[in-house]
């Protein structure tokens, strides 16, 4: 497939990291960035390509994470089917929220608010329910064995996360070149014109939010397997909704590499400021805010977009 080469190159380069770096801090940082990149890639399918800006992707991240954890802890299921079920349930939640929001024609800030509200409702419920462990959270028992989707080496987990991100990148590339991708972008650019050209706007949006939720749900499941602990504020917290939308917006919404690039830039900056001005709590969040303001005020569209446009002109 044309365009797959940079993705494979990225996978190989990133895959070398565990062989070159032994520092757990660095590997931790990379794994976390990959998880965010995966969640952000999910957001990008709906927000970047489809122009439907969700502020509540935590709803999908958290669902993927909780289902993965609960099926193992409460029902003794193996981690892999639990993880798969987590993706499936997240996709269903996406379809349901999408149906409610898009059927009534919610767009723009109204759609953003509704998704935010759903994520908050889930957070409050998860915080109160017994099934989720309530405010105490839920702990997946440490059994470092590949059969349990747990790995003694951080490097191994990085490869697994990287494989999933690579799959997500390839899937995004395939979407970009498909009929659904073209129709999704058409909906983003102009709904009325898309309708006139035979695009079933509701169906296209529903497919997009389902795929989007599945991908972000996978990131949630991955998070659960890596940290082995969840509570409502982690799984359904606003932080992940913000991370999932900030990375693509900074790196380039509606591009294949945007979310990965954005996640690396934001977390790179965050880590750098933390290590430089370590004693100031929350300084990385301040940097996030400043970057966001700059990106919104001076929209470069995105870095790859700038390069592409220059080539076109």
């Amino acid at each position: 497939m044309k365009g797959a080469l940079p993705i494979l190159a990225f996978a190989v380069l990133m895959g070398l990291a565990p062989l070159l770096v032994a520092s757990n801090v660095v590997l931790n940082f990379l794994v976390f960035t990959l998880i965010i990149a995966l969640a952000a890639q999910g957001w990008n399918l709906l927000g970047g390509y489809g122009g439907q800006y969700s502020f509540g992707h935590a709803a999908f991240f958290g669902t993927g994470a909780y289902v993965t954890a609960i099926l193992q802890v409460r029902y003794g299921m193996n981690a892999y089917p639990a993880f798969t079920a987590g993706i499936g349930v997240a996709a269903l939640v996406g379809l349901a929220i999408g149906f409610l929001a898009f059927r009534s024609g919610l767009r723009g800030s109204y759609f953003a608010l509704v998704t935010l509200a759903f994520a908050e409702v889930f957070r409050v419920l998860a915080n109160a329910a017994e099934m989720t462990g309530g405010a105490a959270g839920i702990l997946i028992r440490l059994q470092a064995n590949p059969a349990n989707f747990q790995f003694a080496e951080r490097g191994t987990f990085l490869w697994v996360a990287l494989a999933l991100v690579t799959l997500a990148l390839l899937a995004t590339l395939a979407l970009e070149r498909s009929r659904l991708g073209a129709q999704l972008v058409a909906v983003r650019e102009n709904e009325a014109a898309a309708q006139a050209l035979g695009v079933d706007v509701l169906a296209v949006k529903l497919r997009a939010i389902t795929l989007s939720a599945a991908m972000t749900g996978a990131a949630g499941g991955l998070y659960a397997q890596y940290f082995l602990y969840l509570d409502a504020n982690i799984a359904y917290g606003t932080w992940i909704s913000v991370e999932a939308l900030l990375a693509p917006i900074v790196g380039g919404a509606g591009t294949v590499f945007g979310p990965v690039l954005g996640a690396v830039i934001l977390h790179g900056l965050g880590e750098a400021t933390k290590s430089l001005a370590g004693s100031i709590p929350g300084i990385d969040l301040v940097i996030f805010g400043i970057v966001l303001i700059l990106v919104v005020r001076f929209p470069p569209r995105d870095l790859p977009g700038l390069l592409r446009r220059r080539r076109r002109a």
Partner: protein, 255 residues
């Protein structure tokens, strides 16, 4: 033709009324479009032409009345369903996918009948050639001139392979030489077997292109006939120039 039994008209609009609150935009409009024709819909500004188009293309539900395509009742169907049935429209205020190239814009239309990207892009190129956009395929749509954007509207609609094409003022805002350039494009569309219904203000083009013209004024069809008949009809002259104008013009001509 309003009797019972199968309606021979390709597109039949029957007693369509559209009310927006207290505003009666279209009032009991009835007319036909014959298969393989170029039919004009003219009328003064605010007559309700674009609203009538929106009803036919499924963007607005009529308050009452019926629209039939090839004898099938299509009233109230969604725009994307109608597009699938072979009814395409352009917009008076052009609606390009601004962030996409000309090629990608047209391909969105082509994807209606083509599942594969390669095939859709091929159709896009072919259609672009037909409307004279072949040399601008890789330009972003936002970089096109007004005339180019009008052509793009037509190209996207054509890429859906319609049976019936509704053109909403594709000539408005173009200079006379641009109008001359696009007239053969519309003729070529008809020649390829597509029925055309066009809203148009540029009378020179209406006279050249249309075999049948319907005149809409204040929401009502006030006259139907050949272009020559229609421009001579007193009620049409009055609709444009005001009450009594026909008589005064006649008086002036005799004096």
């Amino acid at each position: 033709m309003t009797g019972t039994g199968p309606d021979p008209a390709f597109l039949a609009v029957r007693g369509v009324t559209k009310r927006f609150g207290g505003l009666l935009a279209v009032n009991d409009a009835t007319f036909d479009v014959g298969e393989g024709t170029i039919t004009g819909l003219i009328g003064p500004n605010g007559a309700g032409k674009t609203t009538l188009f929106a009803v036919v293309a499924g963007f607005e539900k009529p308050t009452s009345g019926m629209v039939m395509l090839e004898g099938e009742d299509i009233t109230g169907r969604k725009p994307h369903e109608l597009a699938r049935m072979g009814l395409a429209r352009t917009f008076q205020i052009v609606q390009p996918f601004a962030g996409l190239t000309v090629r990608e814009n047209i391909a969105v239309g082509a994807f209606l009948r083509e599942a594969k990207r390669g095939a859709a892009l091929e159709v896009a190129e072919e259609v672009a050639t037909r409307v004279g956009l072949a040399d601008q395929l890789d330009k972003p749509a936002a970089a096109l001139t007004v005339a180019g954007r009008k052509r793009l509207e037509v190209a996207r609609a054509l890429a859906t392979r319609p049976k019936l094409l509704l053109l909403d003022e594709v000539l408005a805002g173009l200079n006379p030489s641009e109008v001359r350039d696009i007239v053969p494009v519309v003729q070529g569309i008809r020649a390829s077997g597509i029925t055309v219904l066009m809203i148009e203000h540029v009378m020179q083009a209406v006279m050249n292109l249309c075999s049948q013209v319907h005149v809409l004024a204040q929401g009502r069809i006030i006259c139907s006939g050949t272009p020559a008949e229609v421009v001579a009809a007193p009620q049409v002259v009055e609709a444009y120039l005001g009450h009594g104008a026909a008589k005064r013009l006649q008086g002036a001509a005799h004096a």
